[in-house]
């Protein structure tokens, strides 16, 4: 009994001390992973993921608090990339966080706009220009389509319009697999 206790105590002392020292010596600060995750997120800043913007969501993923399938604008592709980065299994977009939509931009009906500036305050990327009491417009090239400006508008003059296909954005379709389309 005594030898057993002595032997195990000896082992425990050595290991405990080594670990305790290492935990101080190799303490980690900061988390470069967040940047990597953030780079994958679409930066729409829409909050559909349940976090106030993409960066907080990235932090949450990195801390293991959030799952990787909560960002609808990033879509399946985004989830796939996250799964890849984190070595996890791909999973479809979580339903409670919304669905993937075609990319749209906000458009302000200039006839109705009363210039209340509420939408300017809501827009996370400063894509709306206009001064108080004056008509506002969305700069389509800057708009991320987050829809955050839609709700605040007191006169409902903001509508989301899907982006039309242009020669620059036209894509070849996925070849149809006529043989095995049935899953």
């Amino acid at each position: 009994m005594l030898t057993a206790l002595l032997v195990m105590t000896g082992i425990a002392i050595v290991l405990g001390a080594a670990l305790g020292y290492a935990s101080i010596r190799f303490k980690v600060e900061g988390n470069p992973l967040v940047e990597k995750i953030d780079a994958i997120l679409p930066q729409t800043q829409c909050g559909q993921c349940g976090y106030p913007g993409c960066k907080p969501y990235a932090e949450a993923i990195s801390n293991g608090e959030a799952d990787i399938n909560q960002c609808p604008p990033g879509g399946e592709e985004g989830i796939r990339k996250l799964a890849d980065l984190l070595g996890r299994e791909f999973k479809p977009l979580s339903e409670e966080h919304g669905e993937e939509k075609p990319k749209s931009v906000a458009r302000i009906d200039e006839q109705l706009c009363i210039g209340c500036t509420l939408c300017i305050q809501a827009c996370p990327v400063d894509a709306i220009v206009g001064a108080a009491k004056h008509m506002h417009t969305v700069v389509p090239a800057l708009c991320t389509g987050c829809e955050l400006c839609v709700a605040p508008c007191p006169v409902d003059c903001i509508a989301m319009t899907p982006l039309p296909e242009t020669l620059e954005t036209w894509k070849w379709k996925y070849p149809v697999f006529d043989l095995r389309s049935a899953a």
Binding site: L179, R180, A182, A183
Partner: protein, 335 residues
């Protein structure tokens, strides 16, 4: 909508597989004439099983059946299964083997073209592991009449020891390992040997060789795999043989016996599960030859090619990845 190109060469999977079946015919003929005519019955059983299994699975998966059946790849697999198995197996072993090949190996991975392992070889490995005794009972070439063979295949009594003999490889192994005989004495002593390989079996090797040349001529296979396989097997066995001629059989023996020729042209060359780049093909085939030799000579199984093929199948993704040919315009940009 159909996009360019709008014209195609008149090639099809069906024609490729048909060519493979045709190329097998000389070997099969030699088999029937020299060794055991019952192999025809086995081929029939296997073909029917393969097609039925494939049809069933496709129906279960709600996929169109006709195109997949008519591509004949299942028939190629079935035939290769039969040609690797001993001919006097009870029919249900053949059926089981083909089912493993078609269902477990080919269709679990999604069917034609997607299986990372060679279906016929998995079937062989599975069966030799499961039924080692049945799978090592080979008839002496051309000494049993068709009726007896048929009885053996379709059931009925099996007085095995009386009928079966060792294959050349097996006899060589047992001789060298347990009775301490020398290569020469084994070759002389046994009644089942011809000059090379087993008596009668070398005709099969020749038949497969001829079929292989046909495939080469039709450009269905490239030279890389057969050449690398044969050359490596010859070199490796040659080295051992030269070092100790009494303990190790000569290269010609290794090339002509077992499934070496069948493997060189029909099995190693399976496009689906093998390496695809030119350099990769050389490595793949050479790897099979080396492992097969080691298993034959030092391992626990009489014929190592099937395991060697599976083992190299495992390496295919890595081989392919590491041997990508230099793309046009990238010469010099790579070490």
């Amino acid at each position: 909508m159909i996009h360019s190109p709008y014209i195609r060469k008149p090639a099809s999977v069906q024609s490729v597989m048909l060519a493979v079946l045709l190329a097998l015919l000389p070997g099969v003929t030699a088999y029937v004439v020299q060794v055991a005519s019952v192999v025809v019955v086995n081929l029939l059983i296997a073909t029917v099983t393969a097609l039925a299994a494939e049809a069933l699975i496709l129906m279960l998966r709600k996929r169109p059946v006709a195109p997949a059946l008519s591509d004949l790849s299942a028939v190629v697999t079935a035939w290769l299964v039969v040609l690797c198995f001993p001919p006097i197996l009870p029919w249900w072993v053949t059926v089981l083997g083909v089912l493993i090949a078609i269902v477990a190996v080919k269709h679990l991975y999604g069917g034609l073209g997607q299986n990372p392992f060679n279906p016929a070889m998995v079937a062989y490995c599975a069966m030799i592991v499961a039924f080692p005794s049945l799978m090592s009972q080979w008839p002496p070439a051309g000494q049993i009449d068709f009726q007896t063979q048929l009885d053996l295949v379709l059931g009925g009594a099996r007085q095995l020891d009386a009928i079966t003999g060792a294959t050349a490889l097996d006899a060589m192994r047992t001789g060298l390992r347990t009775s301490g005989a020398s290569v020469e004495s084994v070759l002389q002593q046994s009644g089942t040997f011809g000059a090379v390989g087993g008596r009668g079996w070398e005709w099969l090797a020749l038949g497969y060789f001829a079929g292989g040349l046909f495939l080469l001529a039709r450009r269905i296979i490239t030279w890389h795999m057969p050449v690398a396989f044969i050359a490596t097997l010859a070199v490796v066995s040659g080295i051992f043989w030269l070092a100790e001629p009494a303990r190790f059989a000569p290269p010609l023996f290794h090339l002509a016996s077992g499934g070496a020729m069948l493997a060189a042209f029909f099995i190693v060359t399976d496009p689906v599960s093998g390496a695809t780049t030119p350099r990769g093909k050389l490595i793949f085939a050479a790897g099979i030859a080396v492992i097969a030799y080691l298993i034959r000579v030092f391992g626990a199984f009489p014929e190592g090619i099937a395991f060697a093929v599976l083992l190299m199948n495992l390496c295919v993704p890595l081989i392919d990845m590491k041997t990508q040919p230099v793309v046009f315009g990238h010469r010099g940009s790579r070490p």
